[in-house]
């Protein structure tokens, strides 16, 4: 628990710090933004799941994080658009958060639907398969 939080703190803190260092020291300004999007949470979650439950479950965490990252893209795109359109920094952050929340809820609901459709399909397959076995007997 505390080890997990410590790793998250270190990775998150280091990403913001490196992003700042790049902004000040390097001519590659785009790299600062790339570091600002560093997937600290995903890495820690995969790492901790790998230690606790092995590679297959860690892979599931990585696959699941793709859905969460879509919300992140929406958040950054909103901030960027609002900054370019209005030039209002505070408004861009507020709208970025709102759009992140809205898109994350939509993506999460779609993901749940996709899961239930897959589960229904697999249960239908099992029923057909067991039906065929009963007839053979």
């Amino acid at each position: 628990m505390y080890k997990d939080l410590l790793i998250r703190f270190t990775l998150g803190g280091a990403a913001v710090m490196i992003s700042y260092l790049i902004t000040v020291l390097s001519p590659w300004k785009i790299l600062a933004g790339i570091f600002a999007a560093f997937p600290a949470v995903m890495i820690t979650a995969v790492l901790m799941m790998g230690i606790a439950s092995g590679s297959k479950k860690a892979a599931k965490i990585a696959n699941g994080s793709v859905f969460g990252m879509i919300g992140g893209v929406v958040c950054v795109a909103t901030v960027w658009t609002v900054l370019q359109v209005s030039g209002n920094w505070a408004l861009s952050i507020v709208l970025g958060l709102l759009f992140w929340l809205g898109s994350s809820i939509i993506v999460s609901s779609l993901r749940d639907r996709l899961k239930s459709v897959r589960e229904n399909k697999s249960s239908i397959k099992v029923n057909i398969h067991s039906g065929i076995q009963v007839r053979h007997k």
């Binding site: 600290a40 893209v73 958040c75 809820i105």
Partner: protein, 119 residues
């Protein structure tokens, strides 16, 4: 741009770390559905964006925030590719090797984007 100082670095390290830890703790206390959504909170990006506000104001703040967001949107695209790759590599290579290779991919693609966009 402001001069580089230990205190400026420390503030960013603490803010970035705190943002990630707080969003993790909130996610854990919100229950499965809302917690799952909050687990993907873009804490690092928002912490970086807020710390831009420490150094700049007015037009400069807006232009630096646009620059940061431009890089971050590329970074988030790379992250999606990394997560898909990790999901593929981990069961085949083991989580240690798979995660290391996925992070290596992140670094290589990030540097490639920097080279392509700069030169």
């Amino acid at each position: 741009m402001a001069d580089l100082s230990i205190s400026a670095l420390l503030i960013r390290f603490l803010l970035g770390g705190a943002a990630v830890v707080v969003s993790t703790l909130v996610a854990r206390n919100l229950g499965e559905k809302a917690g799952g959504i909050f687990a993907a909170f873009p804490a690092v990006y928002l912490a970086a964006l807020l710390t831009v506000g420490l150094d700049f104001s007015g037009e400069e703040l807006v232009s630096h925030s646009i620059l940061l967001s431009k890089g971050a949107i590329v970074g988030m695209g790379i992250n999606i590719l990394v997560a898909i790759l990790a999901g593929y590599l981990l069961p085949r290579q083991g989580w240690k090797r798979g995660l290391a290779q996925a992070m290596g991919f992140w670094l290589v693609v990030s540097m490639a984007v920097v080279i392509i966009t700069t030169y």
